[in-house]
Amino acid sequence: MASREIVRYKSPARSAFSVLVILFLIIFFVWTVLPLAIMLITSFKDLLDAFKLPQEGDWGGVGVMFDFTPTGDHYIELFTEKHFGVYMRNSLIASLGSAVVSVFLGSMAAYALSRAEFRGKRDLLFWIISTRMAPVVAVMVPLYVIFRSSGLVGTLPGLILAYTTFNLPFAIWILKGFFDNVPYAIEEAALCDGCNRWQALRMIMPLVAPGVGAFIVLCVLFGWNDFLFASIIGSGGAKTLPVATAELVQPVKIQWGSIMAAGVITTVPMMFLGLLIRRYLVTGLTMGAVRE
């Protein structure tokens, strides 16, 4: 196979363009990182320091934003008085649980849909993705009724089920793309080598693993950041981090410090997850993108 080097040819237009690109990247970087930085800094300030802001347009006065004595009080408060440990656990269980269930069921279904030919396959595929076409709020009320009558409201299994309902169609579609990219001949070779169907599927799993890994992350992110399901179906027994954070906004007093700290707590684990599987994320998503 030929290598995939991208050959570049120098020209003045190209050099000018790359300067523009770098400029754009700098602006983009500030744009995305600044809010996170402010969140992080503010979470270590007490309420007085948090509102020490420079005058508008006074760029020299930016320094006052960094003039504070750091305090971990907000974090301590969140984990002691406000039970954020429990909410974090709920978030983890709900998002990971749904990710694992979605990817497991999804890859089974995707494998079958990728390999088998049968009448109505295209319709079935369309039906599967069509369940994702309505906005979540549109189905919220009926879903809530169903969940309540089955006693799933306010429970973690209920939340996992709700997320799975929404992750699974996606999982099937995306993973089917990954399976489609694995030539069937490889399984045929495995069959001749003495595998049965399951063993043959296991032989090709490493080839779709990047895709599966990447998709697990997407599922986890969906569950972890979800607010709508969590606030309605999870309300009560299965409160997750976004819901708990929202509850810090109380009519009398908006607890900015705690909210910022909660934001950090919610963001950091996902960032680590992202870093951890960054490698797979990249190869995974591009592998599905091109047809070889």
Partner: protein, 364 residues
């Protein structure tokens, strides 16, 4: 002990017919070659034998066992795929070791077998590489390796050496034939290269458009092709064909067209009468059974003009024009001659083939 019997097998892909009413019995320890042009249903046949393709109708037996419903892993076959089908995430070594692992062979034996196969295929240096890091020919040899590390009941090869260079191909022809003789394993070998069929096979099955044309030893196929298709497909350079009519004058029967008049021998005449051949026939003659002499004073019966000459080292090919027909002649190398120059041709009437012009069936 493994015979493979194919009885009345048909293969349809949707409405496309790939194999039509195929009957072949492959004998124990036989090297059988399925030969035919692209798209004639060779791979389909092989894949049905492997159990990778449904059999639309008919039966396949291994020995006395009907295997239509036996999954590939229980058929004890080793197959080399047309498109290699290597495991992309495994090294060459692991690719070769995979079938042995499923046979629960122990590690030391596996290593020994794999190294033996790699050596024979000249890929010992590549054992730690992944398939993406291999050239086409190296991949193909890896694919062969994965089959020959085993000692199965039946070897199934689908164009296993089509993508190797000429030298390596000739080396591999020898190696595979030697291996088959040594292991005494029934082998079914698919190829579109008639040379591979002629050199390696015990028997050749020539297929065309899903239909078995002829099944016989390489000698049979070469010397007694049953129809025009087989005659034209086997042999390099291919047989020459000329349209003729039969002319009877008294006792003598001859084949005639604008440029030639060939008086047939007694045996040949009898055969013509037996098959009550139509007046219009097609004559076939192999390039080796023609002679050519350059220049105007050639002393041969037929006048022709050189179209082109192609040196082959020790031999040469002369394409000569006979009126509007063109024939290829093979001879020892001599003076080349220029296009357009006159030459003379004679042909060995003993080696003549005659085909029915309508059906293509051989009359003799």
């Amino acid at each position: 002990m493994a015979t493979v019997t194919i009885t009345d097998v048909w293969k349809y892909y949707g409405k496309t017919m790939a194999v039509k009413d195929l009957n072949i019995d492959v004998r124990d320890n036989e090297f059988l070659c399925l030969l035919g042009p692209s798209g004639c249903g060779k791979s389909s046949t092989l894949r049905m034998i492997a159990g990778l393709e449904f059999i639309s109708s008919g039966d396949i037996y291994f020995g006395d066992v009907r295997v239509n419903d036996v999954p590939p892993k229980d058929r004890d076959i080793a197959m080399v795929f047309e498109n290699y089908a290597l495991y992309p995430h495994k090294t060459v070594f692991e690719n070769l070791a995979n079938p042995l692992k499923f046979q629960k062979m122990n590690r030391a034996d596996i290593t020994e077998r794999v190294e033996w196969a790699a050596e024979m295929l000249q890929i010992s240096e590549l054992l730690q590489r992944k398939p993406v890091e291999l050239s086409g020919g190296q991949k193909q040899r890896t694919a062969i390796g994965r089959a020959i590390v085993r000692e199965p009941k039946v070897f199934l090869f689908d164009e296993p050496i089509a993508h190797l260079d000429a030298k390596l191909r000739s080396h591999m022809r020898g190696e595979l034939k030697h291996l088959q003789r040594r292991l005494e394993t029934t082998t079914i070998y698919v190829t579109h290269d008639q040379l591979e069929g002629m050199t390696m096979a015990d028997r050749i099955a020539v297929m065309h458009e899903g239909v078995l044309q002829q099944l016989g030893t390489p000698g049979d196929i070469y010397n007694h092709p049953v129809n025009e298709f087989v005659a034209g497909f086997v042999g390099e350079p291919p047989m020459n064909f000329l349209d003729c009519r039969i002319e009877r004058v008294g006792d003598s029967v001859s084949l005639v067209n604008d440029n030639i008049k060939l008086v047939l021998g007694g045996d040949q005449v009898r055969r013509l009468e037996e098959k009550s051949a139509a007046g219009e026939v097609r004559l076939g003659i192999r390039p080796d059974d023609l002679s050519v002499e350059m220049g105007r004073d050639h002393g041969f019966a037929i006048d022709a003009k050189i179209f082109v000459t192609e040196p082959l080292g020790g031999d040469m090919l002369v394409d000569a024009e006979l009126g509007k027909d063109r024939v290829t002649v093979k001879r020892k190398i001599a003076e080349m001659g220029q296009p357009g120059e006159p030459c003379g041709i004679s042909l060995n009437i003993e080696k003549l083939h005659v085909f029915d012009r309508e059906s293509g069936e051989a009359i003799f």
